[in-house]
Amino acid sequence: MSDAGDNLRRLTGLYRMMARIRAFEETALAAHKAGEIPGPLHVSIGQEAVAAGICGNLRIDDRLTSNHRGHGHAIAKGADPRRMMLELFGRAGGYCRGKGGSMHIADFSVGMLGANGVVAGGIPIAVGAAQGLKMQQSDAIVTCMFGDGAVNRGPFLEGLNWAVLYKLPVLFVCEDNGVAAFTRADTVTAGPGVIDRAKALGVAAISIDGNNALAVDDAAQVAVTAVRRGEGPHLLHVRTYRITGHTSTDAAAWRPAEEVEEARARDPIARLGAVLAERGVEPSELGRMIDDARAEMAAARGEANAAAWPEPAVAFEDVQDTGAVAWSKSH
């Protein structure tokens, strides 16, 4: 296979991954609106290039910590969307046996150490995982995904400082969608931003266009290689846009319509589709990948709707080995 062929395959893989993430979240949104999924749901529509571009460069034994908007990260790291959908639906066959839901997807078998319901909560865990791997003389690395809102929490400063001190194999990824919940992040963030904060602590950091899957993929490849070589922590500041609201029930109506339209024009999936078309991929093939992704997720939704709820006793399991309370009908 020629380099060009390899490259095309890589791009096609990125496209397919983004299409699957988008389809998963669109399906989940629809299911949430239909009352099939309980609880809060944070989707990342428009941000798929970040998850796909970064995680596509990781090995299965590399670890990942994620945040509340982490479906894409999990799928791109290799988690099974079927079991994720089951978890979103709160069903027994879900990744967490119905005890976590959307904000707590984890799949330790593919190195996905968990989404996190606490902003910046994954940062200390990521540096500790990296420290553990280093002690084990592993060459696996840890990628730590967080939003632009996380850089104003203490663990951001602590975690970056820590990773530099012990020269840990961590790739920090600040997924900057411009907003933290309902507030523009730049209105609550002093100074020139995350890159300067990282550099001030000695973390190698660059900023990239997060709606350009190729740019994310390239930058991630360089950063992952450096981190794996033992060059210490790196940070990627990935600028993107959250097309939808903060949660599934938030219309984000406070944003000017033109701003959202402009962002739609920069849609990462369409952009990579255009690149692929230029390189000779048939539009029908691109369409087929989208259709396949939608069919995969529709099937996952159908399966989840039909799946069994967890038995009541499950609420009492996996609390602790010693000192656990027993389930009984009278609770």
Partner: protein
């Protein structure tokens, strides 16, 4: 058997486990220099700087990094230096460590030990003297250890390091230089088994941590007056030895719980409630608590002394119980 201080007993426990299990590592401020209390003296020379890690003053990350390492198979001993600083790491402890196993459906067991030297010690005032162990008994997912003797500190610490559950280990600061015998090698002591300090029929006295020697002295004073009590040191408050306490109260009909922490909503309330529930009011003549008033710990020695337990206070409380 060898006679050592409580802090030295705890040092030997961690040392013993680190020698046999390369997954065990220690992280916290100044630990490479032996730790604030000397509880890691000489560890650096033996285990090197990867396993004995002096950290920045970053409690959230000390706690969270310990957890992260556990998620890739390590067994960290997370040193908080003084209990009160755990307040800076509450997210990592309460929302992360206590939740990961449950929330992820059992995919991971966070085998961490968090050491938190607590309690009043040399007039350290309101931010360095607290006893909030009851908070953590309230928290599903963790073990809460509250030893009072060198042997118990050592044995429970060995058990804690070998445990797959997260263990919150409340080192009793005021008792660090009390001496006692420990066996070597140090055998683990199971969680949830009380130690009977003295035996008697007059009343049941339940206590833990720094209150244990005070209550022990009181039991000795009472004995000289012919009043013999069952004195139980719980050693761990979650799980706690309900069977031993209930059996004793069924025999004595009188319960006094003594703890250094604030009385209101303290763990004593849980003990009393459980005993009332299990023993019933017919056979229970009185169930009371002796603990601190609901005020922060003041600085000046005469002020602090008002909050402290004393053998006399315990003696009077037991006598009040007998009169009830």
């Amino acid at each position: 058997m060898v006679e050592v201080t409580l802090i030295e007993a705890s040092r030997r426990a961690v040392l013993q486990e680190m020698r046999v299990d390369s997954r065990v590592w220690v992280l916290g401020e100044d630990v490479a220099r032996g730790g604030l209390w000397g509880q890691y003296q000489d560890f650096l020379a033996e285990f090197g700087e990867q396993r004995v890690v002096s950290t920045p003053i970053s409690e959230a990350t000390i706690m969270g990094a310990g957890l992260g390492s556990a998620l890739v198979g390590m067994r960290p001993v997370i040193e908080m230096r003084i209990f009160d600083f755990v307040m800076c790491a509450m997210d990592e402890l309460v929302n992360q460590i206590a939740k990961v196993r449950y929330m992820f459906g059992g995919q991971a067991k966070p085998a961490v030990v968090v050491r938190m030297p607590h309690g009043m010690w040399r007039n350290s005032a309101a931010q360095h003297s607290q006893m909030l162990e009851a908070w953590f008994a309230h928290l599903p997912g963790v073990i809460v250890v509250t030893p009072a003797t060198p042997a118990d500190a050592a044995g429970l610490l060995v058990q804690a390091i070998r445990s797959d559950d997260p263990v919150l280990f409340f080192d009793p600061k005021d008792l660090f230089w009390v001496t006692g015998e420990i066996a070597e090698p140090i055998e683990p002591i199971p969680f949830g088994v009380a130690r009977k300090v003295t035996a008697g029929d007059a009343a049941t006295v339940v206590t833990w941590s720094a209150a244990v020697p005070v209550a022990t002295k009181a039991a000795e004073l009472l004995a000289t007056e012919g009043i013999k009590v069952d004195l139980l040191d719980l050693r761990t408050i979650w799980p706690w030895d309900q069977a031993a306490v209930i059996a004793s109260v069924k025999k004595t009909g009188r319960l006094l719980v003594v703890h250094e922490a604030v009385e209101v909503a303290g763990f004593g309330a849980e003990v009393v409630a459980r005993v009332v529930d299990q023993v019933g009011t017919t056979n229970l003549k009185a169930a009371r608590r002796l603990a601190a008033p609901r005020v922060p710990v003041p600085f000046a020695p005469p002020l602090e002394a008002q909050l402290r337990l004393s053998p006399e206070k315990v003696v009077n409380a037991v006598k009040g119980l007998l009169a009830a």
